[in-house]
């Protein structure tokens, strides 16, 4: 595996915000070592010294510092605190009074010390600057982890009053409510997410599934169909052919089928959000059945059959009411 591919994978993880700590750690370590080997020469210098040499060369890259931050977080996640400490030391030396470095130091403290120590550290920083979003988020995260969920929710609501456009915060609020089985509140938080990111089908899918769990089936079916529209909607050149649903579109069709079943069982249900019922539930059900059959019959690589096809076919063939 080459240096180039390692750097590309690291950049991809940064863009997509995935938390693939093992992968990042492996690639990051490779980047450190590869650059270090150039300076290593014949005498076997210690790993610590190579890291120093490496980062001096590396940090002329514009992405060098974000890479170090990424590697620090991944090392803490994987448990290799020695490398995390080295990277953190380098970053802290270069950027002495930065709030981002304070967050990283706080995360490092969280990983080894007791939660009270971490909370005290965050309280000190928040006293000096009470609008430090990163530190506030870490504080809320520690409160949630130690089980003080109500306090975490109160702080998070205060945080979101201050920073309304923070999508992460609303998602975290929705997650906390969902973990306490308060799905209506979770749905309310998700509506704010939908306002802030209207083009994102993943959040619409999450909202649809939360609505389904909160037993608001007309709203859920509408949202599932919106997800299908968002992800599969503009296949204008494929109108004449069959287009196979892929990815979260399949999940959305499953959702449509589930909601259609529930609505057909109870044709005059009241929706808590006063959403109107769809007029032709049977047709929607037929459409969802057909789309799921197409999704699971398309041959994948080497013509193999999609996993779970038999179960899906048996399930969609069951009658409606």
């Amino acid at each position: 595996m080459s240096l180039q591919s390692a750097l590309e994978q690291l950049a991809a993880h940064r863009i997509k915000n995935t938390r693939a700590s093992q992968d990042v750690f492996r690639n990051g370590l490779l980047v450190l070592q590869k650059k270090g080997l150039k300076k290593l020469g014949d005498d076997g210098k210690s790993f610590h010294y190579t890291c120093q040499n490496v980062t001096h060369k590396l940090l002329r890259l514009p992405a060098g510092w974000t890479f170090l931050e990424q590697l620090t977080l991944a090392s803490i996640d994987v448990g290799r605190l020695d490398i995390a400490d080295q990277c953190l030391q380098l970053i802290a030396d270069k950027f002495p009074n930065s709030p981002r470095v304070d967050c990283l130091t706080g995360i490092r403290i969280e990983a080894t010390e007791s939660p009270e120590t971490a909370l005290k550290y965050y309280a000190e920083i928040l006293e000096a600057d009470s609008a430090n979003a990163g530190i506030w988020k870490r504080r809320i995260s520690v409160l949630r982890r130690t089980g003080k969920v109500e306090k975490a929710v109160n702080e998070l609501v205060q945080f979101l009053d201050t920073f309304y456009t923070d999508v992460e915060g609303w998602l975290e609020l929705a997650d906390i409510y969902a973990s306490c089985n308060q799905y209506e509140h979770s749905l309310q938080a998700l509506t704010h997410v939908l306002l802030l990111t209207p083009q994102n089908p993943f959040y619409m899918l999450q909202a649809a599934e939360t609505a389904y769990t909160a037993e608001d089936f007309p709203l859920a079916i509408k949202m599932f169909l919106t997800v299908v529209d968002m992800t599969d909607g503009d296949d204008s050149e494929q109108l004449l052919q069959e287009s196979t649903p892929l990815g979260i579109t399949v999940r959305a069709w499953f959702g449509v089928k589930l909601c259609a079943r529930r609505i057909a069982q109870n044709t005059n249900m009241k929706s808590p959000s006063n959403t109107s019922l769809p007029k032709k539930v049977e047709l929607l059900d037929e459409l969802a059945t057909e789309r799921l059959r197409v999704a699971y019959s398309s041959s994948g690589q080497k013509g193999e059959i999609a996993k779970g096809r038999q179960e899906v076919f048996a399930w969609v063939a069951a009658p409606l009411a």
Binding site: K16, R19, Q22, I76, G79, E172, G233
Partner: protein, 106 residues
């Protein structure tokens, strides 16, 4: 490949035309003649360099990406969208799961 070749040729042609102009002007200065218009072949060389450069830059461009949101969203995953890295919890079982079984670091 061809794009890079064209770009290199265009750069060389332009540098050559520039050097020829400099030589021509210094020749005129040495002979004491007033500055007339540039000789036509230098002009042709520069225009050729321009055309070659345009072609080379267009061919050398990176592959085009889709502009619709839907096509970008097709490449993302639920895990990436739901990661909430600002709130992520770093006290996990990672230390125990991924540690070297013999305890030595590296």
């Amino acid at each position: 490949m061809i794009g890079k070749l064209f770009l290199t040729l265009a750069t060389l042609a332009l540098l050559h035309a520039a050097y020829s102009t400099y030589e021509h002007l210094s020749l005129l200065k040495a002979l004491g003649k007033p500055e007339g218009s540039l000789p036509l072949d230098i002009v042709y060389e520069s225009v050729l360099a321009l055309i070659l450069g345009l072609l080379g830059a267009s061919l050398n461009a990176p592959p085009l990406k889709d502009i619709t949101w839907a096509s970008e969203m097709k490449k993302r995953t639920i895990d990436g969208m739901d990661s909430r890295l600002g709130f992520a919890q770093y006290k996990s079982r990672g230390k125990l799961l991924f540690a070297n079984p013999h305890g030595d670091k590296e």
